[in-house]
Structures are given as structure tokens and as C-alpha cells.
Symmetry: none
């Protein structure tokens, strides 16, 4: 019996409220061996109080040593095995621009490129055109009609765009048309299975018209297709857990990931204060709240230790607004580590704090990596976070008599 089967079988409904506060890239590294990490350096009185009353642990996003991107990182936190539920690049790109991708849509990541007169690619990124130019080209491409399907074209940034085909009988198993090289022409969109033939045909027709539409533009006079895929067939959060779930995230990517598991995406405003206000407003309407805080990751990616410390302190300052609502379960964690020392995501285990009436408190008195190592939750794969949240919320019956 799978974890999801267990959740479906054992879930019960009650009036409890669960808050999952994800500080993106939360975990870190000390700058020198024996030193303190960003989280340990930060002054976090509110998180430390929660740590004292709650229980700490470390989560492994997928498997030991594996660094994850935001997609698998969040699916894991939501209790969906990231090795089972995989998100194609086109889908992630569509989620990242807040495109409301349906279950039958095929999403494609596009790159504007430059073709010479012989149709050979001379620049795979069309000289990294400005975002405004990309947006205008997308408007032109939006006029293309392919019989039997709806086509959507959206700019992402610079030379990147998203194309979505919506219609019956579309499958996503189609090869990239980007040859990953200059000096050759774009490839034909080839179906890798019979069920995806219609998608390949639609893509071919779309590209044929696109070549006409863009032929007088320069330097971007065509585009290539990559990561062609549908969103994974994924059970909804409500099906798995019986939870009415809301997402309060500022950045589109995380709204998209929440939408993937059918959470309701609320207007989050622009700041953590906005998010907390929204949480308060929506408190009675949902059982589960996913709050996403981006800046612990972006400062880590920038390699700015001090700024990451500051962003953690700003997060800490928002904690009282959340605890004032008296959630039955409050979890603070990350989707992965982003040590500013590495300027990138990493594979290190991620700090987890769980606060709930029924938790078995450990001896930890502050929220940090070294304390988490001694925490009562131990070390576990992120996909087991939700079953623990459910348990602490009194929302799981016992298994077997």
C-alpha cells in the first residue's frame, strides 16, 4: 500500500488548521568549518520559541546526495514522491508565468532563435533579445490558428516563451525541435509514441505558420521547442488528504506548483505582511495553508550570507502573526538548502520545525541545522512530512485494528 493509499484510507476531517510555511532554500552552510549557518547566525527569537515547544528534524528532499529544483522540492513537501511525479520543463515554465494549465494541455518551452537564409540556426537565443521584444513577437504568434486546438503563446523573459496547445487527444511525448547546436536547422517535432502524433502534427503546423509570421523580424525570426509535456496526472490535495488547501505565494512558480496539486491559489500581495493578512482573512475557509517565502533562496543564490541572515530575521518577525491564529500544526521548513557559500541549491538535509499540541517535544531550544540534527523528528524523506502534519492535526485514523 502506497503512502497516498494510506492517506486516502486513514484521513478523517476535523476543524484543525495546518500551516506549512516554506522558506525557500532555507538550509545553509557555515562559511568556515565549525562556524554557523545562516539560520544559526540569524537572531530568531520567535522561531526559537517554537523550536523549544515543538519538535525539530531534517528532511531529505529526494534521496541522500540529490539536489532538487523547486518543482520536485515542493512536490516532496506536499507529499508527492518527486521520483514518481515528474514535471516537464515546459510545464514548469508555464507554471512559472502563472498560466493556468489544464490537465489536457500540452506545454512547451520555446526559445526565440535566429535563422539564416538557408534556415540554419545562427543564434539559439536570438542575441538574447529584450523582454519587450519577446513580448511583441509572442503577440504576433498568438494570431496563429491550428484547426482543432486552441493555441496560447506567452512571453517568459528575454528570448524565452511558452506555447500551450489545448484540445482533445493531445499527448506530450514529442521530441525537442531545438538541435542544441548552431549551424544546423531546427528539428521536426517527432512523436515518440502513436498517442502523441496529433501533438507533433499540431506543433509542425504551428511552426510552419510561425516561420511565415516571423520571417521579416530580426534577430528573432523563429523559435525552437523544448520540454514538450503535459502536467503529470496527479491526485488532488483534497483527494489525498481531505484538506481544503490554499496557497499564499508571491511568485508565480510556487502558485503554479500549488495549482498542480489543485490547491486554491489566493492573491498573496507582494510582501510577507500581505501574505499574513491574506492568511488571516482566509482562515475560516480552508484547512491547510501553504505559505511561500522566496527570499531565503534568492539571497542564497546571490551568495550573500548576510542578506540571507536578514531575510531569515524578517521571516522570524512574521511568525507572531501566524501563531496568533493558533494553527493546530505549524511547520516551518524549506524545499531544499541554498547555502550562500555555494550560491546554488544543495543536497544537504533541510531544517524542519513542527509545532503542535501533540508533538513529542525534544531538547532543542533554537531553530538551526545543528539543533535539527538532534531533533525528535529525526531525518526523513520530505514526502513523509505531510503524513506527520496530518497525524499532529488529528486527521489520521489508526491503520489496522
Amino acid at each position: 500500500m502506497s503512502l497516498h493509499d494510506l492517506m486516502r484510507q486513514l484521513q478523517v476531517r476535523n476543524n484543525s488548521k495546518i500551516v506549512l510555511l516554506v522558506a525557500d532554500g532555507l538550509g545553509g552552510l557555515p562559511l568556515t568549518p565549525g562556524g554557523q549557518t545562516e539560520l544559526e547566525t540569524a537572531c530568531t527569537p520567535n522561531l526559537d520559541t517554537l523550536a523549544t515547544r515543538g519538535v525539530l528534524g531534517l528532511s531529505i528532499p529526494v534521496l541522500p546526495g540529490i539536489t532538487v529544483g523547486s518543482g520536485p522540492g515542493h512536490l516532496g513537501l506536499f507529499g508527492y514522491d518527486p521520483l514518481e511525479f515528474r514535471i516537464g520543463r515546459g510545464v514548469l515554465e508555464a507554471l512559472g508565468i502563472d498560466f493556468n494549465l489544464g490537465p489536457d494541455d500540452v506545454a512547451i518551452r520555446g526559445n526565440f532563435c535566429t535563422l539564416d537564409q538557408q534556415g540554419v540556426i545562427t543564434d539559439r537565443r536570438a542575441g538574447r533579445i529584450a523582454s519587450e521584444i519577446g513580448a511583441k513577437l509572442c503577440e504576433k504568434l498568438s494570431k496563429i490558428k491550428v484547426p482543432g486546438v486552441e493555441c496560447f503563446v506567452r512571453p517568459v523573459k528575454e528570448y524565452r516563451l511558452v506555447v500551450v496547445f489545448r484540445g482533445d487527444g493531445l499527448e506530450g511525448n514529442v521530441e525537442d525541435t531545438d538541435p542544441q547546436a548552431t549551424g544546423v536547422g531546427p528539428l521536426d517535432p517527432a512523436a515518440r509514441d502513436a498517442a502523441s502524433q496529433k501533438t507533433a502534427d499540431v506543433a509542425r503546423e504551428f511552426l510552419k505558420q510561425a516561420r511565415e509570421v516571423l520571417k521579416h523580424d530580426h534577430p528573432a525570426n523563429f523559435f525552437t521547442m523544448r520540454g514538450i509535456d503535459k502536467r503529470p496526472a496527479i491526485p488532488t490535495f483534497e483527494q489525498v488528504y481531505g484538506l481544503r488547501a490554499a496557497a499564499i505565494a508571491v511568485y508565480p512558480m510556487y502558485r503554479g506548483l500549488a495549482r498542480l496539486v489543485s490547491m486554491q491559489v489566493l492573491d498573496a500581495g507582494q510582501t510577507l505582511a500581505d501574505q499574513c493578512a491574506r492568511l488571516e482573512q482566509a482562515w475560516d475557509d480552508f484547512d491547510f495553508f501553504f505559505l511561500h517565502y522566496k527570499y531565503t533562496d534568492s539571497t542564497g543564490e546571490d551568495g550573500n550570507f548576510a542578506a540571507k541572515v536578514e531575510k531569515i530575521e524578517q521571516l522570524d518577525a512574521a511568525i507572531p502573526q501566524i501563531t496568533a491564529l493558533k494553527p493546530d500544526v505549524l511547520i516551518v521548513t524549506g524545499d531544499h538548502c541554498t547555502p550562500s557559500k555555494m550560491r546554488s541549491h544543495s543536497w544537504h538535509p533541510v531544517p524542519v520545525l513542527l509545532s503542535a499540541e501533540a508533538c513529542r517535544t525534544d531538547a532543542c531550544t533554537s531553530f538551526g541545522e545543528a539543533e535539527c540534527l538532534k531533533g525528535g523528528l529525526g531525518r526523513f524523506e520530505a514526502k513523509y512530512l505531510m503524513s506527520q502534519a496530518m497525524a499532529h492535526a488529528g486527521r489520521l485514523e489508526k491503520y489496522g485494528a
Copy 2:
């Protein structure tokens, strides 16, 4: 997606060097409760320095409570699930005498035995004949020809020998001929599937001739066959990790296990000093080095606590020669525990030390079982050691965007 699929998909190449130093049977037990283990008793200033800067943990060779032999123990360390990749007894015996087993060879462990005039086994080990006698009998058996296959016969020790059949269309699914009892005749080599019929026929013909060849010898006038098998179909270390790997091991068994995953087996000399010299010599030619140190296991098997302590101290003394090469990742661990108190392999978790620039240092300051229990790597299945080595070497891209 499996761990190996992940490794194949995420691996990148760089100039990093990884050293895996396996002290066979490293972990142990205190002689009295509350005492110190062999590793804790040993004076190991160099390992303690590494422990202080690095990160410790405990590995479980296969599953909790399962004691492993050298074969599964090493496969686990190499990142091959020992429950998935299984090594037949005949194959292990062939590896143990440095026989270069090909992918199509069938290896068989033989036991010389004594038959009476009715062909009934009276001694399953032929009175444990001396190794020299066994060797002479193997020479006689080496003259046997079976049409269509090459036959190799090699002595192991005392009454034990290895027979290898090489040829097309041989599969290894054939029953033992050893009846595991005296007072009955040897069994016929029976194929358990159609694909192994040829092997059974070859074995039958070989045994028929062997009975003639040995009929005037005494007490060993025949032999039985056990553990008939081919080496497992196993992806190479380079395929899985993209690493050019070298093995520097004194004992044939460990060279054989390294050869099984297609590491290049280097001449290791006889001593740890020889091995370190070889390591230095080969440094530029490989990405990964497996060094094997046998004496922590053999002293444990002897039940000699003091000798095991001494062998650990000798190992410690060699560490500076390894660290002088500045490996990007240095791992010191064992394939299993061999507590001298038990005089045998055991199931206890195995101490692991990992030293690398990007490791998240823990509070541990010496290398020992109790410290490892507090270590930042936590407790993990040995098959996840290599993914962590790859991560710390910067050789894995992130999973998903």
C-alpha cells in the same frame, strides 16, 4: 526512477578526485557494556582531525539487522543495491582467486569429496586434503575437454576448487550436485530453465570425465558442484557515475569485486605503504580510487581486540599520505562491522567519515561509533554513500528545475 537512473541522468564530469578508503570490518563493539570499541580505543589523531573538519554518520550495509559478506558489503558501498545485484557463490569464489571472469562465463564452486565403490559420498570434503594435493588434482582436471566450451579449473584452498565454463549460450540456472549429505551419490547437474540446459549438459560431461580422471586418487576421487552462476549483469561504474575508477586492493576478493563493476584494478603491492604509493602514482589518471585495507576484518575475525586496535592505528598513520594528495572527497568507512568480541561479521551500523569542502560539518571531533551516532550524515543505507560522494565532488546536477 531508480538511484542508478538518477546518477546516470545527473552526473557531470569535472576534475575532482574521490577516495573511498574501506577498512574491512571497521566497526566493532566494546568488550564490556559502556566500554569503548576498537575504533574508539585506537589512538587515531589523523582520522580525528578529518572527523573534526568533516562529517560523520553510520551506514547500514543492506537493511537493519542484516549481516553481510564481503560481496554485498562492497556492492553497497559502490552504490549497487545488494538486494538487487546478487553474486552467486561460484562467482565470488572465482573473484576471490583473482580469476578474470567474463560476462558469459559460468563459475562453479567445487568441493573435492570421497566416493566409495558404489559411488556413494563418504566424505563431503575428502578429509580436508592439503592445498598442495588439491592443486595437483586441479592440474589433472584441467586436461578435460568438453566440445564447444573452454574449461578452467583452479584450486582455492584445501578441498575447494573453482571450475569455469566459457562459451556461447551458457546460463547459470543449474542445481547444485552436492547432496549436502553423505551416504548418497552426487546429484546430476539439473537445469532449472531451458536456457541453462547447455550448461547442465556441459557440467554432466565434465563430471563424467572427472570421475574417470580421478578414479585412482584417494581420498579425493571426485568433486561436487555448488553455487553455479554467471556474474550478475551489472552496469559499469563509469556508466553509472561517469567516473574513471581504480581499485587498489591487496586481496584478490576485493580486486574481483572492483572488477565486477569494471573498475580498473591496479597493482597494489603488499602493504598499505605500497597502496599509498600506487595511489600517488595513479592520481592523475583516475577520478575515483577504491582502497581496501583487510586487517581490521581479519583481526576482528580472530577475536583479537588489541590487534584490531593496532591495525586501526596503522591505518591512521597512512592517512597523511592520502590527504597530502588533496582529494576533493575522502571517505573512510567499512563494508560491515567485525567486532572482535563476536569473532565474526555483524549487522551493526558501520562508521562513516566524509571529508569535503562542501560538507556540513557536525560537532564530532573524533572517529568512533558513538561520535558517528551524532554525526551530520545520520544513518543511511550504504547504497546511498556514492550519491553523497558524487554530490560533495560537485559531480551531480540538480534534479528538476
